[in-house]
């Protein structure tokens, strides 16, 4: 068992605030990695090809060198997704953890050609009772004018550890839309980094997280704006019940030269119990004059008035709460165009709020 200190913020603040990184006790990073076979791929075509020829494991940030090196040296799933479709085609990659497939070290790389379009759905799901370990790396290179829509689902169970490092590079006029549904894991620790180097490139990141029991979420999102007129929008909606904890660290960094760039970051946390905890560090770093940066952050319980209104329509309190949470999440869930998947997410919300 190890004590891990990981997911460091790009800029440190006082260590008394306990947010520069997260310390996890009693975590075992497996050394002898078993094979993982439960992978389902749907929608592969001549325009979206998937093979195992990944070629880039380097990360600017990442969660921790030990985890990055594990992916470099011991990945038991390597998937290179090459996009050449001009119309929005969809590809799905699903990993299901069970007793025989409980350790996944995956490296997914997505490369788009210029002016292509695609939707990539990546789903991690763990069956109840499995003590799974997941350490994943997703690297996306969105070339000039390409439009990539990524839906990432973390539906792990509450006895698993989920580590995720995500890095994106955006060229001129590229448009990357990321939707993250972050529900599972005893510990769900994720690092998202976007390098908006191309002029007029755009990155939208929408996340919903839902924590229960003693789940811990540590989200470290970093957007670096380099290209002129580049734009990033980060929207995070979450709900915490029982003794769940969430650390949200969001950084929008306007680098010198990103003239007329803009960045917005909005994080809202609904506290569904008086023992749930929300810690947030929404940072704006700015070395360029002609930019517009905004962030907002809020936390609190479900509004009494709204709850009363719904209950006056005949709903029980628990149902009314569920409706409120779903209503908050709805804007982000609507990004999922695949109906089956959308229903799956709604079902998971209901299940996790029961």
């Amino acid at each position: 068992m190890e004590k891990l200190k990981l997911n460091e913020t790009p800029v440190r603040t006082s260590r008394n605030y306990n947010i520069n990184n997260i310390t996890l006790e009693n975590i075992k990073i497996p050394e002898n990695i078993e094979s993982f076979e439960n992978v389902e791929i749907k929608g592969e075509s001549s325009k979206i090809k998937i093979d195992s020829k990944v070629n880039n494991c380097d990360l600017v940030y990442g969660l921790l060198d030990t985890l990055t090196n594990q992916v470099k040296e011991h990945a038991n799933q390597k998937l290179m997704v090459s996009i050449d479709s001009k119309t929005n085609q969809e590809v799905q990659i699903g990993f299901t953890f069970d007793n025989k497939n409980s350790q996944l070290i995956d490296h997914i790389q997505v490369e788009s050609r210029e002016n292509t379009k695609a939707t990539v759905i990546i789903k991690y799901e763990a069956k109840e009772g499995v003590e799974a370990f997941h350490n994943g790396m997703i690297k996306i290179h969105a070339k000039k004018g390409s439009e990539i829509n990524v839906i990432l689902l973390n539906l792990m169970n509450l006895s698993s550890n989920h580590f995720m490092s995500i890095e994106n590079e955006l060229e001129e006029d590229a448009n990357l839309k990321y939707t993250i549904i972050d529900f599972g894991g005893k510990n769900s620790i994720s690092n998202y980094y976007a390098n908006l180097k191309g002029n007029s490139c755009q990155n939208t990141l929408n996340t919903i997280y839902l924590g229960k029991e003693n789940q811990v979420f540590d989200l470290n999102y970093i957007g670096e704006l380099r290209g002129e007129k580049s734009n990033i929008n980060i929207e995070v909606e979450g709900a915490l019940r029982d003794t769940a904890k969430k650390h949200f660290k969001g950084t929008i960094d306007f680098k010198k030269g990103c003239k007329k760039a803009s960045g917005n970051e909005n994080e809202n946390c609904m506290l569904l119990s008086d023992t749930a905890k929300s810690l947030a560090l929404p940072m704006l770093l700015c070395s360029e004059e002609e930019v517009e940066g905004n962030h907002s952050s809020s936390a609190g319980k479900v509004g009494d008035k709204e709850l009363f209104y719904i209950m006056s329509r005949g709903f029980e309190k628990k149902e009314a709460m569920k409706l409120m949470v779903r209503a908050k999440f709805n804007k982000i869930i609507e990004n999922i165009k695949n109906e089956e998947l959308k229903n799956k997410v709604i079902e998971e919300i209901d299940k996790r709020l029961d």
């Binding site: 800029v11 603040t13 905890k277 929300s278 947030a280 004059e289 809020s298």
Partner: protein, 466 residues
Amino acid sequence: MAKTKLDEINRNIYDIKNKDEYDFKIKKGLTPEIIEEISKQKDDPQWMREFRLKALEVYNKLELPTWGPDLSELDMNEIATYVRPKTSLNSSWEDVPEDIKNTFDKLGIPEAEKESLAGVGAQYDSEVVYHSMKQELIKQGVIYTDMESALKKYPDLVKEHFMKCVPVYDHKFVALHGAVWSGGSFVYVPKGVKVDIPLQSYFRLNSPESGQFEHTLIIVDEGASLHFIEGCSAPKYNKVNLHAGCVELYVKDNAYLRYSTIENWSKNMLNLNTKKAIVGKNAKMDWVSGSFGSKISMLYPMSILNGEGAKTEYTGISFAGKGQNLDNGFKVVHNAKNTSSVVNAKSISKNGGKCTYRSLVRINENAASSKSSVSCESLMLDDISVSDTIPVNDIRTDEVEFSHEAKIGKISDKTIFYLMSRGLSEEDAKAMIVRGFAYPISKELPVEYAVEMNNLINLELEGAIG
């Protein structure tokens, strides 16, 4: 379009250097012997001497912060921590030596005392050289004196509160302060007494390669109220000077304290000051803060809302120019039910200056029905400056209303266009926008300080429309 040029603040008044004359200057460095010597020079009681030595031990154990501005240029072996000016404490300006009096005259302190203050304290290097207060307040039982006199006249009151609000192990520079503190003001406002006219202390550091470590201890007893103003400045030298003062404020139940600061240290100063208030039941603590000077500033006033219904408000502005790194902000801990905090922070960066807003809002488990609202805005006036916002929001219970918002940007072209369409020149339009940006802060300051702030901002807008 040509760039709008903002000139550096005119510092002529603040940069007046007097000859480095003193009655006693401790040798540079930080050893137990030096601390013993300071204690001896100050004729400390035994407990204070022991306290200083203990604080030095803590200082030696603690590390420099691993975050914020780079403090590597600070070499305590090159700083004299105690400089006693060549005069003792006076209660009449006539008795203050001519050159020191002239300095304070030019800073407008005696004039302000006549016109708009109920009491004044003036510190020069390590000791307070002037202290006085209006008779009415003395009759009401208000105490306003220098810390050294307080230590001798009110030993129990001082011992009960001294560095209890800000313990020496809070951080390295508080420990340093505990070891070498000298000067500062002590205020006690008895129960129910409302001090309507402000008290003001002004801190002036003249001696080069030295530090100022004044201690301000204010107790506003139940139901009482006070407005305290603090000003600070120093002339510029080539080597680093250090300011590591400590402000401890006790705002008892139902009391009110407003603490206003205009900090205008010279550009060779490292300003590592610590300010904290403990706020009682239904009491209110307001901070108004203008930060203009210093090479490096790390200053985060803090309110601990310990009593039910306690409130605090922070209104602050930082203005960083060439070579300045101002890392300022506010901390609040909600530690009882129905507490509330409102933060309104602004910053302006220009000519390569760096402003950072760094903060903490913590709403503890026992602070149900508390509210906190934070707003920070940063204005970038050119593309060589830096502006960062690093706020931590730590919410530990559900029955709260918490919101935080921040904005970074330049002066909006649309607004300039609108004002120009109303007949203003581009320069006037920009000046108006910057003044408007700073107005919510300047309107909270006493008039003479608002004037000083406007002088400090001193927007000499040049540049042409093109």
